[in-house]
Assembly symmetry: C2
Homo-oligomer: 204 residues x 2
DNA sequence: TTGATTTACTGAACACTGTTCATTAATTTC
DNA sequence: GAAATTAATGAACAGTGTTCAGTAAATCAA
């Protein structure tokens, strides 16, 4: 009976259609200005229909948040395998992370700042997407330590601290708090911060 | 003519009354769940009245955001004058910053993460409250450099990087992203990060 | 082919949100 | 006491996420 198969296909197609509309609106107008009614208007369905395909608004943006992590992996973390030296890999990973944030500020906000998509986690102790990315960082730091770097440091602790620094730079920027740094540096302050962080790490 | 004086006083009293209600609700239920109508209900005035005393919701929360900075200064930065050694002062300041965030997560969110209060800046290039705090940090780092520490580093750049690290730790926590660190460390991970950061700085 | 059943979708309704503004009430001035 | 100023109201506007009774179409069984 192929009818059920077709129905299933159609259901997935409309779900993907909703997601595409949500993504387009989100990347154009941001999270706050993307409403269920906007999405419904765009795909020419009634608002109620959205709820037949997604539990609520958070579920939609959780899906987009997952997309963000896929993009980060594909665009920035994939190439890390080609960098053999652990410390070089750490540098490349940090740089890629900052590049991703610069190129996709809205996705970054959704992935690491906005609380809504986290509400859609079935198990709130288990944030797979973030865990995957963090584990890679811990691995890289671990490899550095095994090479004799970062004496006296614990891999997870140091990974967390490096992540914090990078995350801090990005959020200071995307949440409009970088006006405190002198005007000449302001628009590339994350790069400066990155260089400074590497300097700090090199002497450890 | 004392009538104008009294009227002025009454106006300021109601303004303060509105602010108190807003503060109470905000600290109890957070930014998102505090509405103009909530505030109006609490002080037993109509919603329209609020707009006779504040331009809009952002203006109210900009005022609370300012309060947060006063609190940070009084509670955590005031005592720094007693710490004479520059590096010790840098450590004390960082620790105070993290303490403030832990004790006042909602205020922190308003001061450094939520974009709304920034919309109420008359000149968006000039964020006085943040600037004041950042300048103190730059001063402290500067004093360390003058003492011979942090060779090859620029004061503002390093201050920004340290701030980023601390800010990153706080926001990872308050925006629910610290679930990626192993369970045993999770609830005091900012302290661990702080120690790690100090270790990094000590070798520079 | 017809009738019963399942499925898909609608759009009005609910309880909210920030904000505005004509109207009303009180106070102050002349 | 009348006029003018000031303060406060609350309904109205345009929006939000979400639900659900009702409708229409598609599928199934006889």
């Amino acid at each position: 009976m192929g009818i059920k198969d077709r129905k299933q296909r159609e259901k997935e197609q409309l779900q993907e259609h909703i997601l595409k509309a949500a993504r387009d609106l989100f990347l154009e107008k941001g999270f706050e200005d993307t409403s269920i009614r906007n999405i419904a208007d765009k795909i020419e369905y009634s608002p109620g229909t959205i709820y037949l395909y997604f539990k609520d608004k958070d579920a939609i943006f959780h899906e987009l948040h997952k997309e963000g992590f896929q993009l980060l992996k594909q665009d920035k973390f994939q190439v890390l395998h080609t960098v053999t030296d652990p410390f070089e890999r750490l540098i490349a990973m940090s740089k890629g992370y900052l590049e991703f944030a610069k190129e996709n500020p809205d996705y970054y906000d959704l992935m690491f700042v906005i609380t809504n998509p986290m509400e859609a986690l079935e198990d709130k102790e288990c944030w797979q997407e973030g865990q995957g990315a963090f584990d890679i960082l811990v691995q890289v730091v671990s490899a550095c330590i095994q090479e004799g770097r970062f004496e006296g440091h614990n891999a997870e602790n140091l990974a967390y601290t490096i992540w914090s620094a990078l995350h801090g730079m990005v959020t200071i920027d995307i949440r409009g708090r970088c006006v405190v740094v002198s005007e000449g540096k302001r628009d590339h302050i994350a790069s400066i911060g990155f260089e400074t962080l590497i300097m700090l790490l090199e002497k450890n």
